[in-house]
Amino acid sequence: MNATLEQFGLAEAVRIAPLIPLLPLTAAVVIGLLGPRLLRGASHWPAILGVAGALGATLIVAAGILGAPDPAVFSRTWQLYSWIVPAEGLSFNVSFRIDPLTAVMLAAVCGIALTIVAYSRDYMRDHGRPARGYERFFAFLCLFVFSMCLLVLSGNFLLLYLGWEAVGLCSYLLIGFYYDRPSAAAAATKAFLVNRVGDFGFGLGILLIYLWVAPLAPGARDVLDYAVVFENIGRLEPWQTTTIALLLFCGAAGKSAQLPLHVWLPDAMEGPSPVSALIHAATMVTAGVYMVVRCGAVFAASPTAMNVVTAVGMATALFAATVAVAQYDMKRILAWSTISQLGLMFVAVGLGAADTAIYHLWTHAFFKALLFLGAGSVMHALGGVIDVRQLGGLRRIMPWTWGLFLTGALSLGGFPLLSGFYSKDEILHAAWDRHWGLGAAATLTAMLTAFYAFRMVFLAFHGRRRLPPELHPHESGPWMLLPMGVLALGAVFAGYLGVARDPHGFLGLVRPHDGFMQRFLLPVMAPFEGLHPHGMPVEKHEGGHLLMYVSAGLSMLSILAAFVLYRLRPWWAEAVRSSFAELHALLHRRYGIDELYERMLVRPLRRLAEGCRASDAGIDILVWLTASVPRGIGAVVRPFLDGSLQSYALTMTAGLVLLAAIVRLVG
């Protein structure tokens, strides 16, 4: 087998891959054990080293994958060891899938994680001193990177599920990082419970895979292995494939905050900003998209499931974009934006343009992480103020943060030539190709995206200073600005991995879709082949250039609209808001979905719990009554036992006499 490996050039990759999750895990253990006593304020060093090591290993693995000439090797699974052996001939393995999709995801996870760990070094400090829980923060962050790498690398559904739950746990721990704040504790619980709903479906899907695929593959030892499942999934009945796909999508919708399970993500902003950037923008929430692409063989086999994915994604994208327009909390605007962008990724997957979804996932990771770090920088400088109504004029005080945030917003808003522009445009193109309604909805989402991004920029960084006078904001230090600079480079240039140079292309510069990224991902896109032109190898982008010009124009138009409404003529914005007061209130209340859940689910459940508690109290009373009978008798008799031996003897004698008298009288 080794000879085969050398031939494929994957030997190094396979040998090094286990390091990718293990290095952050080691860092987490080291910080967990040594942090509180020994490392304290230096706890970020193991984290930086561990994540940097993982990133290095990822790059080596990616190089190995690039060097593999035969794409057939990507569809196999590399077994590390036998994990659970429940019966003879059956075994669940710790096994890795090493292919281009893994490499892209790992690069995004480890790359973003490295910048964010470095950023946290200053962010988690209060006036230079480590904040409370400094070690805990880095330990959890490393644990998250470990879990996420495991999720991405896993070669079977069981290990995927393990990673899936582990990232959920880390998300829970980090949302509730400030656990003494009731809102943070509630948000952590909410995130965990909502994810439970999705994961229940996910778990059922995996069980069904086991039940239905096992009989089809009698020779297979690990029935949940990707290679086994994807090979045999086509032999199932269509309704079975659809059921499995929809159940798996349940999990994806929970993790990626899609309708109707989106409610946890805006609340998850209670966590520290680096956590929002890493977990709730760049990596963990994209696990749902990754999983659907990974299970392409399952989803592509069921047109119904694909349509559901598209429909849910589109509905979520548009819905979340409208909500984002009416929010005031910077981090929550970004959270709604994340939900919306994830929706667009699902649209792309559902249309069969999975490489486009991964491409957007890749660019989105950079600019959204950058935006979150920018919001964190503002929050750090202002001691927690994040409401755009209280900000304003920060451009002069924090010029670097402003510039970097602006770069992220331009990229998110789809400004021409930036990363977000190319990847979003691919999705728009895919949507227009399928149906004009879908295309129009996606375009509207994109316009709203640019609008709310710049609404935020203009409200927070431009205009009059509206801060309370006692606040003295300051620009953040290099530990925070440098990672943001790296991400800003990504927000500008990461998109160029997905386009090709073409003098006849857009602005005489580039041609979309023929880029390195698409060619790199081509081997893993096989299941989607034929579903959509974007899933097919190097396809001419018919009409794509026109769309690019139109979407560039629309993006700039939206930015201009935001400029006019929030910078030039703020009273216009106020007039619009008050003339559509009800609509604005509806959007601000997030369409009342949280209230609906509160009324339909939370309150009935709480009432049920109260009923249970009441019945429990009833049982308690019964028990107490039973116990009170002997207690009462005791209370009556106790005075006779006064401790005096004589009186005991006297009572005894009296009793004896009484007994004798009774015997005498009766006998």
Binding site: D642, G643, S644, L645, Q646, A649, L650, T653
Partner: protein
């Protein structure tokens, strides 16, 4: 024969009554202990008396056993009394009234 029986039972009852009266009236632990011994002897005499009355030896056999057991019990009880005295420094039974239920 009959007289002896009657005398035995009567003396036994008398001894028991004296012992009981002494036990109830006195508070000195040793005196109380002696009173119980007196009650014991009354019971033994009763056993002998009733044995005579029924013309059986069971009563006398029991009496022998009881004397032995009473001796053992006396040793035990005296040991207890000694311990109680060491603890409280007095032989007054009232000193232990805090053992009330």
């Amino acid at each position: 024969m009959t007289d002896l029986t009657g005398a035995c039972i009567l003396t036994g009852a008398l001894l028991f009554a004296i012992g009981l009266a002494g036990f109830l009236a006195r508070r000195n632990l040793i005196t109380m202990f002696l009173a119980t011994e007196v009650m014991f002897q009354g019971v033994i005499l009763n056993l002998v008396g009733f044995g005579l009355r029924h013309g059986q030896l069971t009563g006398q056999a029991f009496a022998l056993f009881l004397i032995v057991i009473a001796a053992v019990e006396a040793g035990l009880a005296l040991g207890l009394v000694t311990l109680l005295f060491r603890r409280s420094g007095t032989l007054d039974a009232e000193a232990w009234s805090r053992m009330r239920g």
